[in-house]
Amino acid sequence: MATDLETLTSDLLGAVDAAATLDALDAVRVTALGKQGSITALLKTLGGMSPEERQVQGPLIQGVRESVTTAIAAKKDALDRAELDAKLARETLDMSLPAAAAPVGSIHPVSQVMDELAEIFADLGFAVATGPEIETQWYNFTALNMPATHPARAMHDTFYLQTPTHDTRHPHLRVVEEARVLRTHTSPVQIRAMQAAGGDKPIRIIAPGRTYRSDSDATHTPMFHQVEGLVIDKGITLGHLKWTLETFLKAFFERDDIVLRLRPSYFPFTEPSAEVDVGFSIVNGKRVIGGSEGWMEVLGSGMVHRVVLESGGYDPNEWQGFAFGCGIDRLAMLKYGMDDLRAFFDGDARWLKHYGFSALDVPTLSGGVGA
């Protein structure tokens, strides 16, 4: 009897192992465990046995059933897996095929540098101010201590605007008397910021924006970008100006070895006035800011002229301040190495992608203001 069972078991396990498909495996299962199956038949014999005999034969027959059931389940898993593997193998693709490319956007260097400036100066408590680009001559010149016959006016290569023709959509607009100008610098924002502050509060602002001069050659474009800085407070001196510019330039170029050289100069709206040179060194034949192998003029600055304070509604006997102005395009060129200013305004997508910045390059103090 025991030998019969052993033979049966080994026959069935052999059949399970030999089943090459799920159908064949199922046929084995039916042969063994189906209603007419050999194991089912054996189980049925248990009923006719004596209790003693059943006690011996029962576990043996159950054992055969278990081992065959387990073998069938294991075989089923193996066949399933093989079928899946075969299916996946049929799905194989050439993974070197190109993926669909999403277009790559970019931020213009001028915008990026403006954001960098805003971040650096925010840390020093400077807000960002703006003003119109089509300015009155009063804001652009007169209020800044440049009356009509001031020789400095002639040096500004000013664009003048024709008075707009009367527009029926805006009948309330009065025809302006004096020709407007395209602002030749961001300095008129000084006056506007002072007026907005009301003459009795300290001011710390930067004002980046478009400026215009009727000048066009290899290094000048009729439109360019400037940033103005203005601090009005009590007890402000040239020393504060120097510290602020040093701090700004060090943060902007992320270098500790920035050396500033102040030179006396003249701007009608500051007194005393200073041009600021920054030391550079030569690296691989290129001028790099930092060190002091040579000097590069980057900024105009000075203590706010009393006439300007008065124009802005501040009492010059009580308030003092400094102001500075700097070319943003030039800052970008010095930091990121572009050499042609005119390319800034051409909209060449190749240039924009090469010199532009990722949307994610948001300048932050913690992550760095340079990208």
């Binding site: 999403a102 016959t149 407007r180 510290w243 005393p272 992608k353």
Partner: protein, 793 residues
């Protein structure tokens, strides 16, 4: 402003080296733009004598010379017609570089004859324009000496940039004065006495005392107007002035030397006396520069009985100018009101050395002195006899005394300078300093030649400038008290968000000109603001839209071979009322290139533009859910948009937040573009500001516990029914249950248009019953039926 080192030393007694002088000039605010030593280029050129000259055997126009340049006879081939035995000229040794063309001379055969160097013309040495022959020096010039030494060319020319406030440094003496104050030596004495003449002075009067407060004149008779002396001509040439004649050169020399412009008239060409008067309207002057100027009333002229003889303080007239045959002259030394000179110069667009000096304000206390010096030069150089001086009017020399506190260098300038040192600096600059015995401000009197000094800040600048502005030490700006607040305005933050959102969506930010051509502006409503003085017609009107500039850029990119162009710009539009913050965006060429997955290349369509508009409006914080679609017609006067494939997104019927669509083919043609070009303009300043003041806390939120239910509805719709209207109606059919409605299919068959809409229903506290769902579906169908739609069976 150029001057030579030797010229400077006429006024400055100094042992300082050139380098020290150059460094000091820049340090005290007289920025050195360049130093050039013309002699340095000519070290290999010598004075040489032509011993003999014989015809060249092979060439008619050449001669074979024997030249002695100090080392005995040398054979030289020369083509100059004036080359002849006995001539003393300038010889370039082999190895010398010819300044004009950079050629290095070497021993060479010219048509078979060996030539050991070159006899040079003035043009070859960049000493003048003459190229008709070789230089002819004086016969007794020492043969063999270095030519730059002989000619005094070893005199460095220093070029400084003089800021508009420093008229006093428009003369060499003023520069010397500043250097002396900076400790580089001492100022020499200047004799500026009146020349006592005989006989009545020239007849001179002033009819325009505002424009010309002082008009002094002195006559000289019997002059010979030959060449100015060598030293004067050499200095003038060195600084770029062409010598003309002794009399003209004298006036130019005094102008550069002392910053004092003068004018000399040929008395024989004058009719009657001279008068400084206002011009009559339309009066014309033929000026010394060969041009004729038509004057406006109010401009000051110097005239005789015949008419205007010059534009006062700016340029003299051709008619009464001096020439070789001039014998009797009138020397004018006047003071003109600076603002009048500036106005006249600006209106006539006429610059001159005289205008530059007068409009900055010459020393009003140096009218008599300037005239004396000029007359003395004339007598010394041209001979003749001087008349008495005629003095019409008087230049006001206002006594300008201001209060000054010595601590201002520290409280304004940030630099501590000892009071004694401050006093010393001011006095060395010509100020007179009165210090009270007890406490109190100093009384500082400003020198007459420093018209720019106006108040204590200027005095601080003078002291710091000389003491060294670079000595100012940095002082930290105090941190502002309290918590740091955002420093950007909400508008600026919005711009930054939109900019970075656009870049993140694959758009490239461009910066284009604020001005475009009239033709480019026309389709976009035309430019309200035109430049009166544009650089070119292409950059003439302030842009009414950002699209023209971007379209031009897109066209350039496509011409360069770009497949697809996605450009945007954030900037201003300039309308008649004001400037408007705007985003412009242009999509041109291929949206996607041909591809193994998606097949053929795809172009852009109006819905690409709409998608960008909505995404960027959302980034800008606009209430995108509440926007309504309107047509784009009427937005601009011109044919900007495709009439059937464009629209505007509005908040209510009037507030346009964006326009989008495909551009009109006629507009595209004007920009040299074809195919479908999509564009968006976002009106950033029309987007309502977010409500503030609620803090950072957000309203409480609990996600719904029950699953949403989706139901599809398909309608046939009447012609002209906008999809948006149907979707809105469906969404509004049951506001409590319907959370969204979305069009997911659209087709047309046999002239019947169908739209399929997926509706999402959100149960709140218990699941929808079949009855409830049926009721909602009925409401949806009813809402659609109102618009003429029919539920499809």
């Amino acid at each position: 402003m150029k001057f030579t080192l030797s010229w400077l030393k006429v006024h400055l007694d100094t042992v300082a080296t050139l380098d020290e002088i150059v460094a000091t000039l820049t340090r005290i605010g007289l920025e050195v733009e360049g130093v050039d030593n013309p002699g340095a280029r000519l070290v290999d050129f010598r004075v040489a004598k032509v011993l003999s000259a014989a015809p060249h055997p092979q060439a008619d126009k050449l001669q074979v010379l024997s030249v002695d340049a100090g080392d005995g006879p040398m054979q030289v081939v020369c083509g100059a017609p004036n080359a002849r035995a006995g001539l003393v000229g300038v010889f370039g040794m082999p190895g010398a570089t010819v300044p004009a063309n950079g050629m290095v001379l070497k021993v060479a055969e010219i048509r078979g004859v060996v030539s050991n160097g070159m006899m040079c013309s003035t043009r070859e040495l960049e000493l003048g324009d003459d190229h008709d022959g070789i230089i002819e020096l004086a016969g007794d010039a020492p043969v063999g000496t270095s030519y730059p030494d002989y000619a005094g060319l070893n005199d460095p020319v220093i070029d400084i940039s003089v800021t508009p406030n420093r008229q006093d440094c428009m003369g060499v003496r003023g520069i010397a004065h500043d250097l002396a104050a900076a400790g580089l030596g001492s100022l020499t004495m200047l004799y500026a006495g009146t020349v006592t003449g005989a006989g009545e002075g020239p007849e001179v009067r002033i009819d325009d005392p505002e424009g010309c407060p002082a008009f002094y004149a002195q006559g000289v008779t019997g002059v010979v107007n030959g060449e100015a002396p060598e030293w004067m001509r050499r200095r003038l040439i060195a600084v770029g002035q062409k010598p003309i004649s002794a009399l003209v050169d004298i006036t130019n020399y005094v102008s550069i030397d002392l910053g004092r412009p003068l004018h000399v008239y040929d008395r024989a060409k004058l009719t009657g006396g001279l008068v400084a008067r206002k011009a009559e309207g339309g009066e014309q002057v033929a000026a010394l520069n060969g041009k004729t100027y038509t004057l406006e009333p109010g401009m000051t002229v110097i005239a005789d009985d015949a008419g205007a003889q010059g534009i006062a303080g700016i340029i003299g007239g051709e008619h009464s100018s001096v020439g070789a045959d001039t014998t009797d002259i009138v020397i004018e030394c006047a003071y003109f009101e600076p603002s009048g000179i500036a106005r006249t110069g600006q209106k006539l667009a006429l610059t001159s050395d005289a205008r530059q000096r007068f409009e900055r304000g010459v020393d009003p206390d140096f009218v008599e002195g300037g005239l004396g010096i000029a007359t003395q030069y004339v007598l010394d150089i041209c001979g003749g006899a001087a008349s008495e001086v005629t003095r019409a009017g008087e230049a006001q020399v206002p006594l300008r005394v201001g209060e000054y506190y010595a601590e201002l260098t520290e409280t304004l300038g940030g630099l501590v300078v000892a009071p004694e040192r401050q006093k010393q600096i001011l006095e060395s600059l010509g100020f007179i300093v009165g210090i009270p015995r007890s406490e109190g401000p100093w009384q500082v009197s400003v020198p007459s030649w420093r018209r720019d000094i106006d108040g204590p800040a200027d005095i601080v600048e003078e002291i710091i400038r000389i003491e060294g502005i670079d000595k100012v030490l940095p002082v930290p700006l105090p941190r502002l008290p309290g918590v740091a607040r955002p420093t950007a305005t909400p508008e600026q933050t919005r711009e930054r968000r939109v900019r970075r959102a656009a870049a993140a969506r694959g758009l490239n930010e461009a910066v284009t000109w604020s001005f475009v051509s009239e033709a480019e502006a026309a389709p976009f409503g035309g430019g309200a603001w035109s430049l009166a003085n544009p650089i070119s017609e292409d950059l003439k009107v302030m842009r009414p839209s950002l699209l023209p500039g971007l379209l031009s850029a897109a066209a350039r990119n496509l011409k360069r071979g770009a497949g697809g162009v996605r450009l945007f710009e954030i900037g201003r539009r300039y309308l008649v009322d004001e400037e408007h913050a705007t985003l412009g965006l242009v999509l041109a060429g291929e949206r996607s290139a041909r591809d193994w997955q998606s097949g053929k290349a795809q172009g852009f369509d109006a819905f690409d533009a709409k998608a960008e508009a909505l995404a960027l409006l959302a980034a800008a914080g606009a209430p995108v859910e509440n926007l309504q679609i309107f047509g784009a017609d009427g937005l601009w006067a011109g044919d900007a948009w495709h009439p059937g494939q464009s629209g505007t997104l509005r908040l209510g019927p009037k507030t346009v937040l964006a326009a989008f669509g495909i551009l009109h083919p006629l507009t595209l043609r004007a920009f040299d573009l074809d195919g479908a070009v999509a564009a968006v303009e976002l009106y950033l300043d029309a987007i309502p500001a977010k409500r503030t003041g609620t803090g950072f806390m957000r309203p409480a939120y609990a996600p719904p516990a029950l699953q949403p239910v989706r139901r599809d509805f398909a309608f046939t719709v009447p012609e002209g029914l906008a999809a948006d209207a149907l979707v809105r109606a469906v969404r509004g059919a049951d506001k409590a249950a319907i959370t969204s409605a979305r069009l997911f299919d659209l087709f047309e068959r046999d002239g019947v248009r169908s739209m399929a809409i997926e509706v999402t229903l959100q149960p709140t506290d218990k699941s929808f019953t079949d009855e409830a769902l049926k009721a909602i579906a009925d409401k949806v169908v009813a809402a659609a039926t109102k618009l003429g739609a029919t539920l499809r069976g």
